[in-house]
Symmetry: C2
Subunit: 376 residues, 2 copies
């Protein structure tokens, strides 16, 4: 780990004999993250519908928050005045903030991009807002997460090769400005490998980043519309190019198969809004499937969602009760499904970890590691 | 207590020297209710936004559920097949169901009322539904709450004397049919005193009910639009007419002053949707006031809602954080405010109980017992 950073450390505990999969521990100033790990997303300084106590009971270690959203509301000044994100949202464990890059490119309108940065119209109040690498880091320094992300240019998918190439080069120049601007040794700055679906661009981007000896590396730009095959291909190609002694984070991915394939390629950390978003739509993640609780078959099904799940929802409520809450549009239904879905993805990643520690990863996860058929 | 009922018992533990206030314990088959007590309302078999674990931490003992709503959705058959309300909603403590009478008269359209019962159009699917005293009790027997309520006719407020008088007499005839229909000795059937704002009708209704030696008595028809003075007046007049050895329940009331005044008149139990409804509107109950968290003064206020409150919300979050969640329309804001508001009203009633036990009720609650000025 780069010695500029205090309190950070990544230790690999075990490697799979057949794949690049590994189990490790990523130490941060606010505690350890056992990898592979799924990280719930708390966009506006809360994981939607869940209290920190419920998150902790679900097995969460590191959670995310979004720089773009928090800059718009309530503003980093208020978070800093509260004593930082950990105190503001009452999450004592590790936190990661993204840089706002992805949101600026995917959510905002009226944006103008220059070498200096991006100007866009706030969807909240119509004000013009400017984000540059320096400004993103300054905001993230104020928010105070353990891991902060470089401000990157995220081209849409699909994009022509020359646009992706220009974005890779700009992302690298912006990363150097981020490193220059970064002022806190208790926050680890991760770089992001871009490069779209172009192997040589991914490879070039990875090599540029590795030379900077960062405390961690992310694979970005794989969730903006790519089909599963493309994600697998990119991750398989990119992850092994990243230094083995540093944590690897695949941004925005939280589906069973993509996580398993990424772990097999050597990825350690994941995040995705999917468990809480599905919960708000009345959908549960069970045994690798998605169940819509409005389905008539659940109306009189008095078994728990998943007999083997230790979560509060499965320990206390039936599918019939959850179906009732979802049909009646009761918010508690969203909360109970979010508890289960977040627990489910954390458990999935933890089961991979345990399988790697026992060197049984390829046997136990054969279902997800087999060549893709039309399952997803 | 009527010997027809098993597992029920009301013991008075202490009486106030200056008022009719009393502290007691109401035993039910699913546990004891220490009185005075505020009971959170779980209309559709859940107290909106709160898990049973959060309710228990808030100090809830008995909770309500609504016969009218549960009959429409999911239907009492599903609740019975689940093993009854306690199991369905995972609330192991005492539960009370109302009879549906109030909702039929206040919520439903196209209703026709006859001596036999009420027919109305379901707001859910437009079907015509018939509720009679027998049907209400049958549904409540299937739901399986500890306390069930008689099916009553609730005239609107204000109503002419002759309408209220007719409703009182019909309610009494319907009560006798409810008693006839009631088939479970592990459920206590409470009668409801109606009579509007007419002292002689309240008195007549109370006397009729007392003669039937029921296991508990409720004061109804005081939340349908009456001003505070009328509520106080009715309760002051009615409560002392009810037998001292039975629990007294004031239906639908959950404001500080009205609860304190009712306790001073000898009422033991209260329910109201107000703490969860206010929470959904971003409002907190603090120190007898209602605070709208959207107010600018909370944006940078990093103190808890109430320094002296032991609830999860006050122990972990600032007014600034709650204000942020409410402004950002995050559901967690509703949940955290509901936790606080429910805790607050339960604590308010519990503080009255403790004051009565110490015979300091009139001193400690002087603020709420003083003659009404324009406070509320």
């Amino acid at each position: 780990m780069t010695e500029d950073y205090t309190g950070f450390n990544f230790k690999c505990q075990a490697r799979c004999s057949h794949t690049q999969a590994r189990a490790g521990v990523f130490a941060t100033p606010h505690g350890a993250v056992e990898t592979p790990r799924f990280m719930p997303v708390g966009t506006l300084a809360n994981v939607k519908t869940l209290t920190p106590a419920q998150l902790e009971a679900a097995g969460a270690q590191m959670v995310l928050a979004n720089t773009y959203h928090l800059h718009l509301q309530p503003g980093e000044g208020i978070v800093a005045a509260a004593g930082g994100l950990h105190k503001f949202m009452a999450w004592p464990g590790p936190i990661l903030t993204d840089s706002g890059g992805f949101q600026v490119f995917s959510l905002s309108e009226m944006r103008t991009i220059s070498e200096d940065g991006v100007t866009f119209r706030s969807p909240r109040d119509g004000q013009m807002i400017r984000l540059t690498p320096e400004r993103s880091i300054e905001i993230q320094n104020q928010l105070g997460a353990d891991v902060i992300m470089a401000f990157d240019e995220c081209p849409p998918y699909p994009a022509p090769r020359q646009d992706v190439e220009a974005a890779v080069d700009r992302t690298f120049r912006w990363l150097q400005r981020c490193m220059q601007a970064h002022s806190r040794s208790d926050q680890a700055l991760f770089g992001i490998v871009q490069g779209g679906v172009y192997p040589d661009l991914r490879s070039r981007a990875a090599q540029q980043l590795v030379d900077l000896d960062l405390p961690g590396y992310a694979i970005g730009g794989v969730s903006v519309g790519e089909p599963g095959e493309a994600i697998e291909h990119i991750v398989k190609l990119t992850a092994p190019l990243l230094p083995p002694e540093k944590p690897r984070y695949l941004m925005g991915i939280g589906t069973y198969r993509e996580m398993a394939q990424a772990v097999a390629s050597g990825v350690d950390m994941f995040d995705c809004v999917i468990p809480t978003r599905l919960a708000r739509h009345g959908t549960a993640l069970v045994a690798g499937e998605r169940w819509n609780l409005k389905n008539a078959r659940f109306k009189e099904d008095f078994s728990p969602l998943d007999e083997s799940c230790p979560c509060y929802t499965c320990q206390n409520f039936s599918r019939a009760y959850l179906s009732h809450l979802v049909r009646a549009k009761e918010i508690l239904g969203h909360t109970l499904l979010a508890i289960h879905n977040v627990t489910e993805l954390i458990r999935f990643a933890r089961r991979m970890r345990e399988a790697i520690l026992a060197d049984r990863f390829t046997e136990e996860f054969a279902r997800w590691l087999a060549p893709r058929v039309d399952l997803d």
